[in-house]
Each structure stands twice: as C-alpha cells, then as structure tokens.
Symmetry: C2
Subunit: 403 residues, 2 copies
C-alpha cells in the first residue's frame, strides 16, 4: 500500500484541510493517508479549540485513514523541531511521501532551496546567530539569514508561513535514515492569518476567532466547515459547555506568574532574556489574556513566541525536558489516535518492520515523553469541571478511535 503523509493540526478540520487531504492523496497516487496531528496544544502556542479525539473523529469521517499524535514535546516548537518530530514519525511508519500545502505550490523550488541551503549551512547558522544577537525575533532573524545565503530572492519566499514550514519538512525529510519523499500542493485562497471568514475556504484562525467570540457556530463558520466537524464541535460544546481558548486559562497563568519565584520561572522552556521579569511586572496590570499579551508583546518577543512560553508554563514543561528530547533520534513510540478500516490494513502491513511500539493510550507504555503528554492533557482539561474532565480524559486512557 502506498501511503501519503500529512502534517496537520485540524483545529478544527475545515474545507481547506479537506481540499489539502484530497489533493495530496490524488497527487501522490496513494492508497492510504496518514496524518500526524498535534494534540492538546498547537504550534503557535495555543490550546486546541476541542480535544484531539473529537478532532480525530471529524478527520476520519471525511476520509483520512490514520491519525497519529505528534507528541506535545514537538508540537509547540519552532518550525525545525516541529518538522523533525512530524516527519520522523511518518518516516518510521513507512510513509512514502509527505505532502504539504504551501504558498509556493511546486516542490522543485523547495529542492533547489535545499541544495543552496546545504552548501551554505555554516554561513546560515552564523548569520542566524548574528541576527538574533542584534535583537531580531526568531522568524525575522531566520528569514534574513536565508536571504543572506541567497535563498529568499532566488527560490521560494521564506516570508510565507507555510513555505517556512514546508522548507523545514524538506530539510527534515532529507535527514531521515529511511528515504521519504516530499511533495507540495498549492494552498487555496485564504491566508494563514486572514482574520475574516468570507468564503467556503477560510483559515482555521478566522473560524476559531469568530465562533469563540460568540460561543456558537456562525453562518460563516458552518459554510467553511464540513459536516463532521460541525457535529464534533457541537458535541464537545454540549458535553463541556465551552470550546477552549486562552482566555479560560488566564486565572491559572496569573496565579502561576504570581506564586512562582523568578528561579522557578527561569526553568520553564522558552523563558529567556528576562521574559520572566517582564511577565511578573505586567501581570499586575492585566485585566485579561488579550490585555496581558498586548502588555507583553514587543518587536523581539513575538506573539507566537510568548504564547509558546505560556503553553510551557501552563504545562510545567522545563528546559531540561525539551533538551533531552532534542537528543532523541526518533520518537520512542507511535501513538495512534484513530484509524479507518483501510488504515488498519496499512498498520497490519507495517507492524512487523517497526522499531517502536505502536500504542493507543497513555497507559500502554512508559516513557518521559508520554508522561509529559499526560501532563499537557491534564493542563488542557484543567478549565473543565471534575466530572467533565474525567469523562474527557477517559479516551486518553482507552483509545484509539476506530471508524
């Protein structure tokens, strides 16, 4: 069976994702699709709007065959680490081609860019550090360093968010011990950060923003979401009274900043360059999450960077934990969140040749990475009542979802 790999968040699964999945399957001529999906928290440092299992159900209903979990330790990181964690899981599972959406839309410029990059890797790293030392934010420093080795103007536009991620996938794929191909499809109209919904293809950000602000599914959102997603969003809200958003976690963040010492805050992954002092100072003035973020944000501390630090604060993720994860060549397990009948056949076929155990729930295997996963999931559910939390967490201890 020929397998196509997708790297996704499905937060939530919308028409653009459906298009990506269908086009990728067609383009790679695949028999089966495997999506590696982030769980409770996302790359931009945000809690997922609904839990991983409701999101898995929506994706399975619309034809994705297998959903595996991107471990939390990779999910809320800068592009290269995020890409390494994702591609490596797909590669371990024997996926033939990773197919990603990009603004560029064609794979050749990515491959050309990679050749240029490899030739100039040392120079790139030097430039990157110089730019960071100049006080540039990571995305800016990185884009400028790419520019300085001649990448941006000659090949792909690495100022575009999906091109950046895509380039990280290409780099990650090239470093895998098992060969894994890469391909890309053009992303449809709506931009990553586009704040309004005005077509049946809308960005996940705009959909979330709109429905969370009114706490119900709007007309625009319903137009942009496939049926199964609407069903799962409704089910989650019915069971738990809310969708997840940073605003609900603000009392916890405020409490943590105020009761932890500076030394304790400094242990948190990403807490650097005095951000801990800035957080302690600004929290006194903040009225809510949005207001606090505005007080925290500077040119150097981007919104995304701050949100990632807050995710690691909320989940009590320490610098040393992420450092020890970075040393791992491959994930110690592959966790299946859900699969279709077709997906099960593929898993049966691949099972014998896997190095890692295949697991479905948190209790099937012991590893620090899985303990961190459970902690992240507990932090994610901390805004629910105990009854709701117990019910939601049950799935983490049973699983997987079978279609």
């Amino acid at each position: 069976m020929k397998a196509c790999g997708l790297i996704v968040e499905y937060n939530p699964f919308h028409n653009g994702h459906k298009y990506h999945f269908e086009s990728s399957k067609e383009k790679t001529n695949a028999d089966v699709t495997v999506a590696v999906m982030s769980g409770s928290f996302l790359q931009r440092g945000e809690p997922a709007i609904i839990d991983k299992f409701h999101r898995t159900k929506a994706a399975l209903s619309h034809g994705v065959d297998i959903i595996i979990e991107l471990p939390f330790v990779y999910a809320v990181q800068y592009a290269d680490l995020f890409a390494h964690g994702s591609v490596q899981l797909l590669s371990s599972l024997g996926v033939d081609t990773v197919c990603f959406g990009s603004e560029e839309g064609s794979i050749e410029p990515f491959k050309d860019a990679y050749k240029t990059y490899i030739k100039n890797e040392k120079k790139f790293k030097k430039k990157l550090h110089e730019n960071l030392d100049l006080g540039q934010s990571f995305p800016t420093a990185s884009r400028n360093a790419y520019d300085e080795i001649g990448l941006v103007s000659n090949t792909i536009d690495l100022g575009q968010p999906n091109n950046i991620l895509g380039f990280s996938y290409v780099k990650a794929a090239a470093s895998m011990p098992n060969q894994i191909n890469v391909d890309t499809i053009q992303r449809t109209k709506s931009g990553y950060h586009d704040p309004t919904i005005n077509e049946d293809i809308a960005s996940a950000t705009s959909i979330r923003k709109e429905i969370i602000s009114v706490n119900e599914l709007t007309k625009g959102a319903i137009q942009a979401l496939p049926d199964a997603t609407i069903e799962q969003l409704k089910a989650y809200q019915r069971e738990n009274g809310q969708w997840h958003d940073w605003s609900y976690y603000f009392p916890f963040l405020r409490y943590l900043i105020e009761t932890k010492s500076i030394e304790e805050l400094q242990q948190i992954h990403g807490m650097e360059e005095g951000l801990e002092y800035r957080m302690k100072q600004t929290i006194k003035e903040a009225d809510d999450f949005e207001g606090w973020m505005k007080l925290l944000k500077t040119k150097r501390y981007t919104w995304t960077r701050i949100q990632r630090v807050l995710t690691h604060l909320l989940t009590n993720t320490k610098k040393e934990e992420i450092e020890s994860i970075k040393k791992l060549e491959e994930a110690p397990y592959i966790r299946i969140l859900g699969m279709s009948k077709n997906g099960r056949e593929f898993i049966q076929q691949q099972k014998k040749q896997l190095d890692q155990p295949l697991i479905a729930n948190l209790q099937e295997f012991e590893h620090p990475m899985l303990q961190i996963e459970e902690r992240a999931s507990d932090a994610y559910y901390s805004v629910l009542s105990s009854t709701q939390k117990k019910r939601m967490k049950k799935q983490e201890l049973t699983g997987p979802i079978l279609l």
Copy 2:
C-alpha cells in the same frame, strides 16, 4: 499605657470574640488592646472567609485598638510555632499581658502544667517522637506524650483545642527575652468545632459553614455577629461576589497536583510520608474539595494537617522557607493592619524602643518573610477576577486602616 495582647483570627469577628476582647481588657485592667491576627490563611489550613482588611475594620469598629498581622509563615503552623510567632510579636511591641480564651478558664493550672513540662521536657520530646513513629497523628501523639509526663490528668485537659493553644502561649511567653505575662478567661458555651448555630455566641466554624453554604447571611448568623462584621461581610460579598472557601480553590489544587512532579510536590512544606503519592492518586477520583478531602483523610493524616499542606501547596511554600523562618529569634518587622486613635497613641509611645521596623504595607520593607506574605495574598485572591483582585490588593500596598 498598659497593653493587653490577644491572639486572634477573627474569621469573622463574632459575639464570642467581642466577649473575649472585652473580658480580657477588663481582667488585665488594660488601657489599650493589641490583637495579632492571621491574614489570608488560618491555623487550621483554610482561606479566611474575607480578607484581612475587612476583618480588621470589623474588629476596630468594636473597640480593638491595634491589629497587627501574624505573618503567613507562622499563621498556618502547629500550635507551638503559631504561638511563638504570635507571642513574640506582642512581646516585641511591649504588651504587658497576653490573655487567651480557654476551656480551662484559670491561669494557675497552665502555670503548674508548665512547671511539670519543664522538668520533663526531654522525656516529653522522646515520647512524642515514639508516638509519631507508632503512626499516631500529631495531636494524638502530643496529647499522649503530655499524658505520659503526668500533665493531662493532673492539671489541664490538653485534649481541648483552646487549652492546647493556650499552653503553647504559656510556653512561648516563658521563652521571651522581655517579660510578658499570661492570663486566661473562660471560653463561653459554644465549642470550637460545634457545627450548629443556636445561640448568640456561636463558633466561627459554624457561622462560616452556614453562610457559605447558602451564600448569604442567615438569621442565625446575624444573631451571632456584631453589626460591623455584618457590614464588612456584606461589603466584601458585594465587591467580589463571594466569600472565600476551599471549594473555589479546588481547580487550582487539582491543576497543581496533576502538573507538578513528585519531586516538586516533595518540596512543599508539610508534604511528608508519601502524602504526595496519595494526593496524585486520589485527585483522579475527586469531584470537588470535600470529596477529595474524604479520599485523602486517614487516621494519620488529620483533616487539619492535610488542609495545611494544601495551603502550602496553593501558596507555593517550600520546606526550606519554613525551616529558615524557624531559625529567626524574632520577626524582622511588625506590620500594622489597622489602629484606633487610642492605638496610635500607644504606637507613638512604643516606637522608640522597638528593635524592628513598624510597617503597614508590603512595599515598605524588603524581607523574604514579606515576599511570602505577598505570595500568600496573591494566592488568596487568585479566585477573583482581575479587576476585583487589583482593587482588593491595593490595600496591601497602602494601609493601614485608621479608625
């Protein structure tokens, strides 16, 4: 001016406290009364029903002249450390006599008991440790050790909660460098733990229990509370929508137990003998605070002991912090929460001979003990909205209350 010292929690100030204050002043023939009062958290390991400043206002209105704060590091401790912190502050301020309420009601038996105790101190300590090693709870082990040196049957009943505290005051007073006298008055009818309100003298526990359960002032409570307390309780509820009770803090406790590692939990003051494992295990099953406490409680882990540990967990108070406080001979500052005109005269008179600075707010002095006070206050207010919290905390940064 002759000063009478009272050691109080005023949670809230009720008719029994009014009686205690008036009788003590009369018995000691004092010109001025100084109460050392616990702030945000109380000796039995509970959040105060309303903040320290509203409680101070009620006490001042009913004639108490000076309210000083018992630092958090002493307030939520076993009787001897609680007593040491309290008596030492009164002694530093030049109070002549500490007068406490007790079941016994007469001071001679306490003095006799102290003589017996001093003669048998070594034996007592040995017995106490033996009893603890046998698995007895601290109160039981301590009472049995007193019994074994002939204290309980021959002098005072050290099975009674206020006799125990009183005996600790007597021991603390005897160890002060400045002479400070002790006296006692008989406590009125209602027992410390009496769960019902049925007279105009009721226990603070029964009053709190009754009004928190219905979130309003009941007829019985109004009968047991003087006017100023009723006014302050109403004002606090109007401003913040609630009175404080462990149930509001349960989401924070659950979050902390689930996201902290065993090693981090072990750093918390009072977290001993595997209580951290028991907490991690039982929190999964708990639906609310009361339910969790029932799962946690055993013969060895008394309700009070567990609540104290939870207070230290919520306020992030480490073992090493309390150990370093224990080494202090006297408090590094005296914080005045409020005073009457008469009280101000006394303070003016005593000011020159004080070793420590007199302060009113958290920003007037720098010391770890005061930082812990602020942390405890932030933890206490963590269940309020940011607007409410900012308003309530303002008083901590200004103060004192002047009548």
